[in-house]
Symmetry: D2
Subunit: 90 residues, 4 copies
């Protein structure tokens, strides 16, 4: 990855704690709407992590592959990118 991984790991650790908080809310019979809003917040935090990883990928592997003279490798990296963006949030 082109980017520093420490802030990504840190964000994921926070998300882990957030999920634990949602477990507690369910366990303590919190109001459904509040639970749904917390799950939504977790999903937005995960979207943010995805963006960081994708940005690192574009600056790293994708840039290297596209700048190479290996046409098949260029095609592979673009195909993979299309796949992951298509799958996302489906």
């Amino acid at each position: 990855m082109a980017h520093d991984k420490a802030p990504i790991v840190k964000r994921l650790r926070t998300i882990e704690g957030h999920v634990r908080g949602v477990e507690r809310m369910v366990d303590e019979d919190a109001y459904c709407i509040d639970i749904l809003m917390q799950i939504d917040a977790v999903q937005k935090a995960l979207d943010h992590v995805s963006r960081l990883v994708l940005d690192g990928h574009l600056h790293g592997c994708v840039t290297t592959a596209i700048r190479s003279d290996d046409a098949a490798e260029r095609e592979r990296v673009i195909g993979e990118l299309m796949h992951v963006m298509h799958e996302r949030r489906k």
Copy 2:
């Protein structure tokens, strides 16, 4: 909530472990695309939990409120539902 909370808590615990697995992947420099696909799997698992909570909410609070004679309460519950569905993963 109209539904049993045990399976929901169990799913959230699994998701927590899944997030921990993604942390490990980032830490061990796994391939970006594999990380993105695991984050996507976590998002889908969270979508599933949201659906369970929403289903319980519709069968519980929403049904009770709509069957009541309190028009303001009916309006409140529908407004809240619209809000949560609109906000979702935005």
Copy 3:
């Protein structure tokens, strides 16, 4: 539907014109990113229409069904709602 349909039809007509505009952009070789941003604007406009229709549905059919004494009909309406919200933009 519980709501007035005229504004919904009007919004859809605007969306139709917007789609025609995107066709023109593609035909005139507009920049891909600009095309993607216009498609995204159309998607958001469609989301808005969905919300209006859903709001009408909750105030109309769903409220009537849930207030009825027909438990099977109540179940049917909630199941349909869950289905449509789950399917949405998947």
Copy 4:
């Protein structure tokens, strides 16, 4: 765009007709759930068009920019890509 635009224009024309069909459904008081499902089908068709445009963009402009020696241009193209993917479906 790296790709042929004819099939994209054709798809958009079909989508335009589909939107017109939804207008008719609303006008003729079709069942809300059926309307919502048709709007959802239109959105999936637009997603498909977005993918085609994005794929052309990656093979065309993005590949050219990344293979160039202009670091600022490379950065610009990646930033634009991140922006459009982040905005999408928000």
